[in-house]
């Protein structure tokens, strides 16, 4: 099949795969982010250090290296993965590390007086966290978590390099068979990513501005 129009169904399917990968990775990132972020905000310093090392590892290593290791390297060590699983795992670990920073940062940014007031009212540690601190911290986490979703969508394009048929891979395959439409196809892909991520980052900025207002 040749021509620009004939590529559109494949691009749409690819867009669906991109959404699916990004959404699952976002869920993984939120779960990991809350688990590690809450533990890090509550744990004593000595306990925090090993978690910090893990977080710094997944934040620091290039996502593509992590993804390739999970996809090409793990089978050599006896662990089988598919492209989709490796992509979601790499994105989820990377974004989860960033998410834990968001959660921890929001929790420790709540003024200490809130915790003291909760203690004065006779609330225990868990109640103080769940009823007083977290509800306030959640508001502060929202803008960076929305921005994190845009970063995940953008980064999910790397999955095309380990054979996942996402939007970019669908485009690349079509161009491979019909070189002449490279310009309109890649332009379409750029615009498609923009149309997803621009509203998301606008939303994040709007939420942030609203938060800044008293």
């Amino acid at each position: 099949m040749h021509g620009y129009a004939s590529a559109l169904p494949a691009l749409l399917r690819g867009l669906g795969v991109t959404f699916a990968i990004a959404s699952v990775a976002m869920i993984v990132a939120v779960v990991l982010g809350f688990a590690f972020g809450i533990v890090r905000s509550q744990a004593p310093r000595a306990f925090d250090l090993p978690i910090l090392a893990v977080v710094e590892f997944f934040r620091g290593i290039p996502l593509l290296v992590l993804m390739y290791f999970l996809f090409f390297g793990l089978p050599q060590l006896g662990v089988r993965t598919s492209g989709g699983v490796a992509a979601v795992a790499a994105l989820g670990l990377y974004a989860g590390a960033l998410g834990s920073e968001i959660v921890r940062g929001a929790i420790v940014s709540i003024p200490r007086g809130q915790r003291e007031a909760a203690a004065a009212l006779g609330l225990g540690r868990a109640q103080s966290l769940g009823l007083v601190i977290l509800p306030q911290a959640l508001r502060r986490m929202l803008p960076p978590f929305v921005a994190l979703f845009a970063l995940i969508v953008e980064s999910s394009s790397l999955a095309s390099l380990i054979g996942v048929s996402d939007l970019l891979e669908a485009a690349r395959q079509h161009v491979e068979s019909d070189d002449a439409v490279a310009l309109p196809i890649y332009l379409t892909v750029l615009v498609a990513y923009f149309l997803i991520n621009f509203p998301v980052s606008l939303l994040s900025r709007r939420l942030e501005r609203r938060l800044a207002r008293p």
């Binding site: 620091g60 290593i61 290039p62 593509l64 050599q76 980064s155 310009l183």
Partner: protein
């Protein structure tokens, strides 16, 4: 290599679980490929350096246009920023490498060598983010500073040069540093269009020797060390530029 089993220092449930896996690793493939890997690493450093400098220049130019009186240029800079920071750098690199030469008429003159297309793609994405960082930095300089400069009789250029820019750079430095680190990590993307940076060389070697874990672990460690050094450098720079309070 396998003789180095875990001593008392490495004992622990995690290393106990990992040691049968790690014992199967053979890092001699890395030693044999060291000269090629070193060459690739040199290219990675070159791309990261040119990319960071280019992205800083793009950021400075864009931010200058956005705070200027030129309405049309400011709007163009905003459109540029929003488009390139909201699209994946990998797609931008593909576009520059594969789509640009297909533009009717001028396309054949736009066939860029892989390394140029790749570095330009990184500059566009990270430069667009820098525009936003520097503009926010200029906005964050307190209004009183502008008023004080006006009271001293400084013109618009002197205001920017002596008052706004020095303070904006201090305010922006942490975010600019993070962006350099992010660019360094994104240099791995250049391998996808066949540029032989550290990651590209590693993949080439893997295709020859057919083992991958050792090479990915090695390049991963190299990237982590570089990121650590960059992070320490920017923290030191911040401390040095910080104003006495």
């Amino acid at each position: 290599m396998a003789s180095r089993r875990s001593g008392p220092l490495h004992a622990g449930p995690l290393s106990a679980a990992l040691s049968p896996l790690l014992a199967t690793l053979d890092f001699s493939v890395v030693r044999d490929a060291a000269p090629q890997l070193a060459q690739g690493f040199g290219l990675t450093l070159l791309i990261a350096f040119c990319g960071s400098v280019g992205a800083l220049a793009v950021g400075a130019a864009g931010a200058a246009l956005r705070v200027s009186n030129l309405r049309a240029a400011g709007a163009a800079a905003t459109a540029f920023t929003e488009f390139f920071r909201n699209t994946p750098p990998l797609v931008q690199i593909y576009f520059l490498a594969f789509a640009l030469p297909k533009i009717p008429g001028i396309g054949p003159h736009l066939v860029l060598p892989g390394i140029v297309a790749a570095t330009l793609g990184l500059i566009l994405h990270q430069g667009a983010i820098n525009v936003e960082i520097l503009r926010a930095g200029l906005d964050a300089v307190p209004e009183g500073q502008r008023e004080a400069a006006a009271a001293l009789g400084l013109g618009r250029v002197d205001l920017l040069r002596f008052v706004l820019v020095p303070q904006a750079i201090r305010i922006s430095l942490p975010a600019l540093g993070n962006n350099v680190i992010s660019l360094f990590k994104n240099t791995t993307l250049v391998a996808s269009i066949g540029v032989l940076d550290l990651f590209g060389v590693a993949n080439d070697v893997i295709a020859q020797v057919l083992v991958s874990a050792e090479l990915f672990i090695t390049v991963g460690v190299v990237y982590l060390i570089c990121i650590g050094i960059l992070g320490a450098f920017f923290r030191a720079l911040e401390a040095r530029l910080a104003l006495a309070r």
